[in-house]
Amino acid sequence: MAIHPPEQTIWWNERIERGELVWIGVAFLWGVIMFSMMVYWHIDGKQNLSNEAYRIDPGVFEQRTEEFTKKFTVREDKNTGYPVAKPPAGGDVYMLARLWEWWPMLELEKGQTYRLHLSSLDWQHGFSLQPTNINLQVHPGIMHVVTLTPTETGSFGVVCNEFCGLGHHQMVGRIYVVEAGKSQ
């Protein structure tokens, strides 16, 4: 029994029954398939994590985000007063995370591709785009550049999903997506 030493002194040479071998073979192949799926998705899939990241001083990132916001703000959000920045299609977009907000709000066009620059000014935060359900970790001191293409219009929440202290649950940002050539 499993609570006693093996009955045979040499157990390594035991014959393995065919049924067991078949299962081991199937399980091994399934592992190879699952491994290959990840590689394949990098080649032919459309949802992959960007490897582009830079070390950056939080102060510098804040400054760049402010410059970006100043340049492209098209309006103040109706109820909240947040600036809404609408960058040109295909351009660089900045959003910063800090206790406890995502800033600024963005307005993007459907079907256009943007380079989203994400970083935190203080603690770690979680960029959780809802209801699309894309989730990225945001670190202070590192700027993550993610290329993103909205495929549907509407108002999307950016929920913070990394615990960041007492105001964590109040930390929500917004991204508006409009038809190309139109505005909210």
């Binding site: 029994m1 499993a2 609570i3 006693h4 030493p5 093996p6 157990w11 035991e14 014959r15 393995i16 029954e17 049924g19 067991e20 299962w23 081991i24 399980a27 399934w30 592992g31 190879v32 699952m34 491994f35 799926m37 990840m38 998705w41 899939g45 949802q47 994590l49 960007s50 909240t80 947040y82 907000e101 995502w102 203080d122 603690w123 770690q124 959780s128 699309t132 359900n133 989730n135 990225l136 970790q137 670190h139 202070p140 001191g141 590192i142 700027m143 993610v146 290329t147 993103l148 293409t149 495929t151 929920v159 999903n161 615990f163 202290g165 007492l166 649950h169 109040q170 929500v172 917004r174």
Partner: protein
């Protein structure tokens, strides 16, 4: 019969007192027995505390109840993770290690004094960190990601606890050496001990990673170090945080093998295959710490794919092997016990009224179907984009750590009580339903959290209605329903947990003493036709005909494949990103 057949053995110049177990004939070192008891009792105390914190968490996340205010919620959530994920599990694992070395090898425990020191360090450390959390200035979650800072004694307590656990693991290795030198066993160690060795090895890597990261973090918290890199912290912290759960996997698989050996007389189908599966754990299981770094900046796709896949899913292969050999060993044993009709008589007539067997089997099924499959899906590099930090993650690990490990540990308690504590389980009828109650509760918790997570609900979040936020977002109504159901099933699981604690504590204090006359009966109901000693041959010798196991494994495999690709489909529908 506490020391009815006690003898003093002087082996290797060191005196140790033994008693002979009337059920198994094993010689039990009384010093080891005391340490097993102490660690198991400490484990159960922390399970009680941490479990109640868990109930408070679930009741707060039930939107209609929303029990605690936000600051208390985050405090209690931190304490919940600490007490059950770390303290309950590790205390119990130390008990399992001493059992699998000293008891199963009929050997004296190496350096019982050091083992007591380990116990003391773990207690002091565990209490210190608990105090830090309850004081309210260390609500940093179990993960304590920098640069969020806790009080210094939060980290110090964890360090002391880890050092204590490491000493305990060393005592285990020392005992293996003594057993070999003093020839207390013949040939190779038992499979269960080999599983325990696997757990102990992973524990060494786990604790070393913890030390590497927590010591500088402690120094940072008192001001000696100015900066800790946030991604590096996460990388090394998860070497501890995830690997500690891999210790659980190895330990609870070993516990499965032990339970089926004692309750149905099962033998491993093949020592070679089962040990190789554990060997794959030793080599590759720890790599899956990368599961927590799949959406971080700064790590290459090559690193992510290689590590998250445990090197070509070789550690998953280990689990898939155990997933077949454990039910296969039960089937082979039961067929030899006489339940040879049809495909499933062996399973139908298994000792379902024995809480050790029932808990073990539920643990096996739920660990595989709920925890295993969801873990692989969650740990798939790209699919993690749609699940990272959602409540799917706790859904997954409640299926592995609670339905898998905790339930397996609860199950073996029903054997340790008569064998080690030498007490008959009180309230056998209630003990019979306990694993089912707890199992159903945990299955619900896991499923509904995973469901809500698929809908995007965040983990570690006080208020998904965003009632006091400037900017808000509306989760779908289904998500609220799921969180409510999670709360209801958490109550069921808590009832099962409380019942477990009442039964174990009651048994230790008030259970009827066990002696040679009633020890076998005290192990709970066994398969009716089983004749002691009827099972002499390996499963692979003779009746290697396991149609039931093949069917179970095929159903499992199809579910796995289906669910895996369904999640790729979900992923393919989200916004393209690169």
């Amino acid at each position: 019969m506490s020391v009815a057949t006690a003898e003093t053995g002087i082996i290797g110049g060191i005196a140790a007192k033994f008693r002979t177990c009337p059920a198994t004939g094993l010689k039990i070192d009384l010093a080891a027995e005391k340490l097993i008891k102490a660690n198991a009792v400490a484990a159960v105390v922390f399970l009680l505390i941490g479990g109640l914190f868990g109930l408070l968490v679930a009741l707060t996340r039930w939107p209609a109840v929303h029990l605690l205010p936000s600051d208390w919620f985050y405090l209690v959530l931190t304490a919940h993770g600490l007490d059950v994920l770390l303290l309950w599990i590790l205390f119990f694992e130390i008990a399992v290690l001493y059992f699998a070395s000293a008891v199963l090898l009929s050997c004296r425990l190496a350096t019982p004094r050091l083992a007591w020191l380990a116990f003391l360090l773990m207690i002091v450390g565990g209490l210190m960190t608990n105090v830090a959390v309850l004081q309210g200035e260390s609500s940093v979650m179990f993960t304590s990601y920098v640069p969020m800072k806790a009080e210094p004694h939060f980290y110090l307590g964890l360090i002391l606890f880890a050092v204590g656990a490491l000493v305990g693991v060393m005592v285990f290795f020392g005992t293996l050496v003594i057993a070999r030198d003093e020839r207390t066993y013949e040939g190779s160690v038992p499979l269960v001990t080999f599983g325990a060795i696997t757990a102990a090895i992973i524990a060494v890597f786990t604790i070393a990673s913890g030390a590497i990261i927590l010591i500088p973090t402690f120094l940072w918290s008192v001001g000696y170090i100015s900066h800790i890199d946030t991604v590096m912290y996460k990388l090394i912290w998860w070497g501890m945080g995830h690997s500690s759960q891999q210790v659980n996997v190895a330990a609870h698989v070993a516990v499965w093998y032990a339970i089926i050996a004692i309750t149905v007389g099962a033998k491993p189908l093949s020592e070679k295959v089962s040990r190789t599966a554990f060997f794959l754990y030793i080599l590759f299981l720890q790599l899956a710490s990368a599961h927590h770094l799949l959406v971080e900046p700064g790590l290459s796709a090559e690193w992510r794919i290689f590590n998250t896949s445990y090197a070509l899913y070789l550690a998953v292969l280990g689990s898939l092997i155990h997933g077949m050999t454990v039910p296969g060993a039960i089937e082979a044993a039961q067929r030899k016990n006489g339940f040879n009709n049809g495909i499933f008589e062996w399973l139908r007539k298994a000792p379902w009224n024995n809480p050790a067997f029932a808990g073990m089997f539920l643990s096996l099924v739920m660990f595989g179907f709920l925890g295993g499959i969801s873990g692989v899906v969650l740990g798939t590099e790209q699919i993690n984009l749609i699940l990272h930090n959602t409540i799917y993650v706790p859904g997954h690990f409640h299926a592995t750590v609670v339905a898998g490990t905790t339930l397996a540990f609860m199950a073996i308690t029903y054997l340790l009580l008569p064998l080690i504590f030498q007490r008959q389980v009180i309230w056998p009828k209630l003990a019979m339903i306990q694993p089912y109650l707890f199992g159903i509760g945990v299955a619900g918790i896991s499923l509904f959290m995973m469901g809500a997570g698929t809908l995007g609900v965040s983990r570690r979040h006080w208020d998904i209605t965003f009632s006091d936020a400037t900017v808000t977002f509306d989760y779908p109504a289904t998500a609220f329903l799921m969180m409510g159901l999670n709360g209801i099933f958490a109550i069921v699981a808590s009832l099962g947990g409380i019942l477990y604690i009442l039964i174990t504590v009651g048994t230790v204090f008030f259970g009827k003493k066990v002696d040679a006359s009633n020890v076998v009966a005290s192990l709970g109901p066994m398969p009716e036709k089983q004749v002691s000693g009827a099972v002499h041959e390996y499963g692979s010798a003779g009746t290697w005909h396991l149609p039931g196991t093949y069917i179970l494994v095929s159903v499992f495999f199809l579910s796995f494949v289906l669910y895996y690709f369904v999640n790729w489909k979900y992923l393919s529908e989200v916004w393209p990103l690169s």
